[in-house]
Symmetry: C5
Subunit: 127 residues, 5 copies
């Protein structure tokens, strides 16, 4: 059980994304895509974190001015390396966030997914 414990003992952060709270670990935000803007937001610079305390709300959550709905699958991707989302979620919204946060490995995956779903819609026979 040591690996579990050590994983759980990492530093926890809470993000306030557009008004909704997400709790995760700094290692989740930084490990999968270390050069992404999201990772760099939580990297330690010479003078501590790049995100300064002025960007923290009264509950201690880091403020991010983006859509919570489309951030959720991005965060899950960083947790487990899989892009998974529910039927009713619009992949174009996820693509927009992947680009904003600089999660480069997700961008081509989402682009081809959007293209193929558009093609199958266009394929419907005319009545």
């Amino acid at each position: 059980s040591t690996p579990l414990c050590s994983k759980l003992n990492t530093e926890w952060v809470t993000l306030n994304v557009g008004g909704k709270y997400f709790t995760t670990s700094r290692s989740t935000l930084m490990t999968k895509e270390p050069m992404s803007m999201l990772a760099r937001m939580f990297a330690e610079g010479d003078n501590g974190f790049i995100m300064t305390p002025s960007n923290v709300d009264r509950n201690g959550a880091y403020l991010i001015d983006r859509s919570p709905t489309y951030f959720e699958p991005i965060l899950n991707y960083l947790r487990n390396g899989q892009l998974i989302f529910d039927n009713n979620v619009n992949p174009e919204g996820i693509l927009e966030e992947a680009r904003f946060f600089g999660i480069e490995s997700l961008v081509p995956q989402l682009e081809s997914l959007i293209q193929s779903s558009q093609r199958s819609r266009d394929n419907v026979p005319l009545t």
Copy 2:
């Protein structure tokens, strides 16, 4: 990382839209459509903000008596310039809010979207 920091250091506001909280920056509300009613609600007048403290709830959030469900895609549009919403969301609800908040650039986009979806529904062959 300077542009990121300066962007994040803008003034944060929390809106209580019909009972649901949205956190964003004043610049998001004011930059994309500066003449909209929403932008003017957060513009500074001669005597400070136009929205006076009497319209703030006990958590310091600005009270707006509108639908939270349909405000969400409006706010995302102001954040990234894209109109994106999930399959199950009714675009007529978004149109209603775009009109109320005076987000003029969204109105024709939503109107043509609603018209084309009605046309495709009417096109279904009779049984």
Copy 3:
């Protein structure tokens, strides 16, 4: 900007409908259908409000023992005069609440909507 200000300065109320909070103004609850039960709940009687403080929760919200899911389109209707709801929402649930709260103008609209959707389902050819 005077009409906006005066509108925003109306009295705010928070409703706890079945456990979910809705924030709105008393004028929204009372203007559209002044004779509805919902309007009368917030009308001032000879001895103040009809709803007495014993029906208020610890956050100061008025307690209403009904479905929050189906109350939402009702409240939006009172805000903007339009009946709009998402694809996955069951109109029979909204009808039940419209009847309970006495929003009479919504009842025939919902009834014909439910009937026509049942007719189109019955029209599907047998296999």
Copy 4:
């Protein structure tokens, strides 16, 4: 307005069902199916309530270790006597809760509903 007042003055209870809060009245929980397990949980025994204070969370809500998603239509049924749920909700989840809470009048209604939806799915012609 007397019947409304007397109804609203009943005792309010808040339930924490699997982490989500539901606010309702004890009369809603006890009137429709007085012999159900749910009703008996809030019945007064010789020594006060059967649910003892140890089952109350720090907000004073009664703890119930069940699914909040599928409890919602059950509670609405107890409020207004109608089984109504949205398109995307799985009736098998509601049936499971109806059985757990002992809401006997809902069980056959849900069972026949599940059977007929399975039959219509099986009826799809083979390709």
Copy 5:
């Protein structure tokens, strides 16, 4: 009513899964699959719980860095032994969580469910 009481008197735990709260009992987490990672997280070791207080948020909830959306059907399965989820929920997301938490009995069930839904999608005739 003794079995009900004794069941309700078990120890309650609140989990903060990715920012969303779930309330359940330790027995629910440990009974159905005692050897799962989830059960072992709440098992008592020689020196108390394996999950140490450093993994608890300011509300006393145990922090778990995973998707709340897909944890919900997992928790319901542990409560009642049934895998039930709504139409719009992606079973691949549930599978990912079942694997992470080590709920072995769910894995083959979800795998065959995903395979058969893919097969039926592939079976659609070409136009």
